[in-house]
Symmetry: C2
Subunit: 190 residues, 2 copies
């Protein structure tokens, strides 16, 4: 070791906080370095590029969200659990805008670590849906439906893209009603 030695975790946590404040696009090594009271080239002792930080931010975000999602689904099951998890998702992504941007844009499959980033949260979804009367193939498709909706909705809210004064919470609630009713219709249970 040498000097005060900043940990890799501190860099990511700092980047997370800063990106949530100023937006991922405006996150710079300069800014991170200043916040940590070091010079920007010193960051290269810990990371390999700005893009590297953004990838790590992506993994950090999915991990953190995964943990919150688990907490949210404790003690409930079925559609109640699904609903709680969706709210946890929305809460996290709208309260961590910068990190969520990274979660969206850097979630490509370039490495195992990246590929596994979302395993936790969508694994939970799997466990919630499994006991229902749905074919396992359809469970996979439904996870994609939910994921698309959740990521899309959060993105639109964060970007302030809904050009309409009606309540966002109501939209989210009704959307969940629609999707859940739709899933039930596949169950043949309705």
């Amino acid at each position: 070791m040498a000097r005060n030695s900043i940990s890799d975790e501190l860099i990511i946590e700092t980047s997370a906080r800063l990106s949530n404040k100023v937006g991922l696009d405006n996150l710079s090594l300069k800014m991170i370095a200043e916040e940590l009271d070091i010079k920007s080239p010193s960051l290269y002792n810990h990371i390999s590029s700005l893009d590297d930080i953004k990838e790590k931010l992506m993994i950090y975000g999915w991990k953190e969200l995964g943990e919150k999602a688990i907490d949210s689904a404790v003690g409930v099951s079925g559609y109640d659990a699904l609903r709680k998890m969706c709210y946890a998702f929305y809460d996290y992504t709208t309260n961590n805008k910068g990190v969520f941007q990274a979660m969206l844009w850097y979630n490509k499959f370039k490495s195992d670590e990246m590929a596994n980033a979302t395993i936790k949260i969508f694994g939970i979804l799997h466990k919630i849906l499994e006991p229902l009367n749905i074919s396992s193939n359809n469970v996979e498709h439904i996870i994609r439906t939910l994921r698309s909706f959740l990521e899309g909705f959060s993105l639109l809210v964060n970007n302030n893209s809904f050009g309409n004064p009606i309540s966002i919470k109501e939209s989210f609630d009704l959307s969940l009603d629609i999707i859940i009713n739709g899933i039930k219709s596949l169950e043949g249970v309705k």
Copy 2:
């Protein structure tokens, strides 16, 4: 006029083509200028910044998609029309990845022109849903549901974020089944 004079449209069309090829993040004034056989500072006679181009690309994309969406819904109505429009959406966004990135990220409400970018396509959706037996307030919410799903799904496909070999087309189809059945359940018609 002076010299060969490159039109604003040509700049945007060129930018669209290039961004679809290399990704919006990699689009640069240098690249656009080279493609147009001029020097990059010359672009400033037409645009005010790289961000300005990206905003225009956003508007260009929503406009182009709006036109395709109209075409897709000609001669059909109700849920058939809805389904066709969703396919048109998916087709466009996955065949124009760079432009779609701009459509997602630059769709904030900073000006009337920007606010109106999506009016056409979501207006069509409105017309499709209006005749159904749904409260007008719910129609607005449903448009948000659909929009979230469509944008989210396209983004995930374009980013290759679905880490699963099952068919993407089947996922899309089943998702539409789910959402449409869900909407029907709101109609009380089912």
